[in-house]
């Protein structure tokens, strides 16, 4: 099995999708012959032509509006927003249009073919506008699916699933891991399920929930906690919308404790949704308050990035507090 980094895995997924279906199109800013500022679309224009892989003018609302129209027509657009921080000009197209297309038309029309890829997350000295994790804004929008992979294997399997999914999918890629995460990725076509969490480590004392780049941070925290004799169950949510309540609830019914972590600010973050739902479903089984380890309620800072981020030490502290409550 070949070894790939996350960008290669994404590129490979796009290549497979375009090779199999000539309705699949990739476009965005600098996506064409340059192959994207992160090189996720390398060589795709060469291979599939300018009509199917191309640069757009620099206008995010146009990229997504164009993509909505294409998807409604029956094409399968994979639109790239260069940084998730710059998705907001397209917020109206995504929230009012993409998300509501099928519902408002009574299923006469849909944009299910649409996938929106966007690099997200901090840890690269990106300051305010190259670090954001905007998933919670979109998780408040019925009609969207939101998927975040944690490694190259997931990136390929989930991206292929997203492209073929009958609903529009926001695919947030942890750019900190683009080259840092390397792993074995099957060459052949495969898909991972959307809407299903994955229990990646079984444990009995506390449940940890995260997604994307934060899974690596959780792993480091868990190693420390296990040294203290704390048995951690780790769940990668993978999809935030719809999210897999069953798997998380089942785990918390067993462990009685829950720590949720994300890079995005705490207030209105998706951890709040998970905490509320699990509190409703597992009330009598909770042994301690559900803990959220998140970014601060500030814009994402440059110099004090390390202090800002919910790192492994903050998570292990939350685990200890939860177990010792």
């Amino acid at each position: 099995m070949p070894t790939m980094n996350m960008l290669q895995a994404i590129n490979n997924a796009l290549d497979i999708a375009m090779g199999e279906d000539d309705k699949v199109l990739c476009f965005g800013e600098d996506v064409g012959s340059f192959g994207g500022v992160f090189r996720a679309t390398s060589h795709l224009q060469e291979k599939y032509g300018r009509a199917r892989c191309f640069n757009t003018p620099l206008v995010e609302q146009g990229i997504i509006g164009f993509a909505n129209g294409l998807a409604a027509q029956g094409s399968v657009p994979v639109a790239e927003i260069q940084f998730a921080d710059y998705i907001f000009p397209a917020f109206d197209q995504i929230v009012n249009e993409t998300a509501k297309f099928r519902y408002r038309s009574g299923d006469l029309f849909n944009v299910g073919g649409l996938t929106i890829r966007a690099p997200y997350g901090g840890g690269i000295s990106g300051g305010l506008y190259h670090s954001q994790s905007p998933e919670a804004y979109f998780a408040h929008t019925p009609g969207l699916k939101i998927v975040v992979p944690r490694d190259p294997y997931q990136a390929k399997g989930l991206l292929l699933a997203a492209i073929r999914d009958p609903d529009p999918v926001l695919f947030f890629e942890p750019k900190r891991l683009y080259r840092a995460a390397v792993g074995e990725v099957p060459e052949e076509d495969y898909q991972l399920p959307i809407g299903e969490a994955e229990v990646i480590r079984e444990g009995s004392d506390v449940t940890l929930v995260g997604w994307g780049a934060q899974m690596e941070v959780i792993e480091r925290a868990v190693e420390l906690a296990e040294k203290d004799g704390i048995s951690c169950e780790v769940i990668d949510l993978r999809s935030l919308l719809p999210w897999d309540q069953e798997t998380v609830a089942e785990s918390v019914l067993k462990t009685g404790r829950l720590v949720i972590t994300h890079e995005a600010p705490r207030t209105g973050g998706f951890a709040g949704e998970i905490a509320a739902a699990i509190q409703e479903r597992c009330f009598l089984y909770l042994e301690s308050p559900i803990a959220r380890v998140t970014g601060l309620d500030t814009p994402f800072p440059l110099t004090l990035e390390k202090e800002y981020l919910p790192d492994h030490l903050k998570i292990v502290e939350a685990i200890r507090d939860s177990v010792n409550f």
């Binding site: 146009g62 164009f66 998807a71 809407g195």
Partner: protein
């Protein structure tokens, strides 16, 4: 391709040297301007266009009245702009996609959307294609290639560019026509759409209905330039301004625009100058922001009367036929309205379908909880209880003594 010609004096240009003329063929008395040539329209198509315009007017008048009577929650009229919308639609191929704003019901009528179909949407009943989810006048028809309307202004414009790009790749010789008002053209999506269409050489017709007002805002507060048309130069796009009350001019211009779009994969902008004779919507009263005198002046330019005069000139139409048409349309509108009003609402389950292709487990849980609640308080939720399930409907029928 940015030009690189040099000048050596600081010379600023404001575009004032361009004055965009208005293309006109038909005078209000039904005769052509000197030197004007009518488009090739045979009697059958000319009458089909005329019928669609009159039907739009009749539908609008009756449904505004229905809104005033409290039978309908909301309505928007196309009055004054029938020639723009129907004339353009008649110049398209029936399989071309139309993406409209919300004042283009004439396009649907021309393509054969029935009064029953209009009414089902307006009353949001069980037969509404949109399943009663959207406000009145948010029509859509897949079979008539008419994209479902949404309220956010201008969002359909870049979508039209994308749709037409897909049509170009498909190579079926179709294009997309997208309608919007001069107010919507101030949205950022307008710029995005036109620029992308020009750069990617997309077969799309941007059809701007410049009717002078965006709700209460006159166009002088909407833009400082000579309307919307000059913007096309900034995108290197073909553009024409046309008298929107002149059915022959609109039809000719759109036909030519379609030829440019489909044969050359080039976008075209059409600015149709017209006037919104009615209020913005049933929630609006224009007497607060414009004069009766102004309205009267435009009423004299009524596009339907102008076409009627032309048809009379051709010997294709008579007063008797006019009377019969008006009467039959009024009767049909009234009958279909009564039918649609009586139809039950969509089933309660339709609340959670089509959010996604499949109902998610969480949505199913929410629906189940709602059903339990509605069963407990059926009087408080009459529409939901009536549409809950067959048992409840049976009880409802029994209550009316129909069993």
């Amino acid at each position: 391709m940015t030009t690189t010609a040099d000048i050596h004096e600081p010379t600023f240009l404001a575009g004032d040297e361009f004055s965009i003329p208005t293309f006109r063929l038909l005078q209000q008395d039904g005769t052509l301007f000197e030197g004007a040539t009518a488009p090739e329209l045979d009697q059958a198509q000319a009458l089909a266009i005329y019928r669609a315009m009159v039907a739009t007017r009749v539908l609008d008048e009756r449904m505004l009245a229905a809104q005033r009577q409290g039978r309908l929650s909301f309505y928007m009229q196309c009055t004054g702009e029938e020639a723009s919308v129907v004339g353009a639609t008649a110049a398209l191929d029936d399989a071309d996609m139309i993406m409209a704003q919300y004042r283009e019901q004439g396009a649907l009528i021309y393509r054969g959307f029935t009064f029953d179909e209009f009414m089902n949407q307006l009353f949001g009943n069980e037969l509404d294609y949109g399943k009663g989810r959207q406000m009145p006048i948010h029509y859509g028809s897949r079979k008539l290639h008419y994209m479902t309307i949404s309220s956010p202004l201008a969002t359909q414009i870049p979508q039209a560019t994308g749709y037409a790009y897909g049509q170009k790749l498909a190579g079926d010789g179709q294009c997309t026509a997208v309608f919007f008002g001069e107010g919507a053209a101030s949205e950022g999506d307008f710029h995005a759409a036109l620029n992308m269409a020009a750069v990617h050489e997309v077969p799309v017709i941007f059809f701007c209905r410049n009717n002078g007002y965006a709700i209460s805002t006159p166009s002088i507060e909407q833009f400082a330039a000579d309307g919307v048309a000059p913007r096309a130069f900034g995108y290197r796009m073909h553009v024409i301004r046309v008298d929107g009350n002149d059915i022959l001019a609109v039809h000719t211009a759109t036909r030519e625009a379609r030829r440019i779009a489909v044969e050359h994969n080039q976008p075209v902008l059409i600015e149709a100058m017209s006037y919104r004779l009615a209020a913005h919507s049933s929630s609006d009263d224009p007497s607060g922001y414009r004069s009766k005198k102004e309205e009267e002046a435009w009423r004299e330019k009524d596009p339907i009367l102008r076409m009627q005069c032309w048809l009379n000139e051709q010997g294709w139409w008579s007063e008797d036929e006019e009377k019969a048409l008006q009467e039959s349309l009024r009767r049909e509108v009234l009958e279909t309205m009564k039918r649609a009003e009586k139809r039950p609402p969509p089933p309660l389950d339709s609340l959670v379908t089509d959010v996604y292709a499949d109902v998610t487990p969480e949505l199913q849980r929410q629906l189940d909880a709602l059903k339990r609640h509605v069963r407990r308080y059926p009087e408080a939720y009459p529409k939901g209880a009536r549409a809950l399930d067959p048992d409840v409907q049976a009880d409802d029928t029994a209550a009316k003594g129909e069993k």
